[in-house]
Assembly symmetry: C2
Homo-oligomer: 224 residues x 2
């Protein structure tokens, strides 16, 4: 029984690691599709999200099995509960990659807008946050996760800047409205991915230190 | 032990019911603040979200206690896992009410825009979805939850219509850009609340029928 338990826990861990890489790649590809106006890459992101959805269902089942059959306590229980939440967060990140890919497709027939936005930089930081939070999870490293919480503030700032610049552009040139709206959508989706990476980091800290760091800025709403 | 377990389960249930009413009221108030341009109501929504955040932490602790101390199986386990996810969904709904309240405040100094949008209707339907999904949870009624899944399609349609009308308005009248952008944000937040009510409905169906209905439209991303 004990060996079986360890195997099931390890299986859940590897599935989350693979799902994390998948989600990170989906974000990278959706941004590439946007920047290179590549409809094929965008469509592949949308198509491959079904794989992430399937991962989520399998992991949810593994969590129920582990809880029902093994009745874990203490740190094992905390690990399984954190895995369950991370599973849900990664699935949501996959959905945000789909949103960005949809915006990439919507932008292709539109006239290009000047390169005034910080979207590539935001994408870079966000992918790093996601990678660090998953690394923190694998190595039970709360320290690396605390750095993720700090990057979230930078992403919030960049998102606000980007949206303000795009509103300014819309005001100056009404022909750019549709394109600018799609870029605002992309910026907000990246900001949400950063929020979800932050959730993962918080859950890792909870699982490793059994300490609630959620709502570290209790008066901050999610951005949309 | 058994009586204690039943009491703890009932306590978790009542907390979620109260949290659900709180979230529903927050959505209603944030929309009222928008329509009546009432800064006090909007500020109250933002302030009271801390209460929802506190509920979430308390419920999370109750879930860990129940799993660790009572080691439930079968339908009790499914109920507790569903409660944990619903807890998270309700907290997110509170965050969306905060976003709408922030938009309400941002709109107050801006010139009004013509009443071309379906936001009050969207808010009405969304609140109904939230109420039904919580009712379905209380009475373990999967049927009422299935109706929630259907309303989600209507909200998606209304959101698209609303955004298209607002883009048209921006194009015609550049002075309306900022106001229209805030209304697009409100519309998308309501659409996300409807998605979360749909998640709750799916979780109730899972808890009552042990059947995965998630990803019933696997190729649909979250809207932002």
């Amino acid at each position: 029984m004990q060996r079986h338990f360890v195997q099931e826990i390890e299986g859940l861990k590897s599935n989350l690691i693979r799902m994390g890489s998948f989600a990170e790649q989906a974000i990278a590809d959706s941004i590439r599709a946007l920047l290179e106006r590549d409809v094929d890459v965008a469509r592949r992101v949308i198509e491959q999200d079904k794989q992430v959805d399937l991962f989520e269902i399998l992991n949810d089942e593994a969590v129920v099995d582990l809880l029902a059959l093994q009745q874990p306590v203490a740190s094992d229980l905390r690990f399984i509960l954190a895995a369950s939440k991370i599973n849900n967060d990664l699935e949501r990140i996959g959905d945000h990659a789909v949103n960005i890919a949809e915006s990439a497709i919507a932008c292709i027939p539109l006239a290009p807008v000047p390169h005034i936005v910080d979207i590539p930089q935001m994408a870079q930081i966000t992918k790093g946050m996601l990678r660090d939070s998953i690394d923190g999870f694998i190595h039970a490293n709360a320290q690396v996760c605390r750095a993720v919480l700090q990057s979230d503030d930078l992403i919030d700032k960049l998102n606000k800047q980007t949206c303000a610049k795009l509103v300014e552009l819309m005001r100056k040139d009404s022909a750019s409205i549709e394109h600018a709206l799609e870029l605002i959508r992309v910026s907000r989706n990246l900001e949400r991915v950063a929020d979800l990476a932050t959730n993962i980091a918080e859950e890792v800290i909870f699982a490793t230190e059994a300490m609630v760091v959620k709502h570290h800025q209790a008066d901050k709403g999610v951005s949309q």
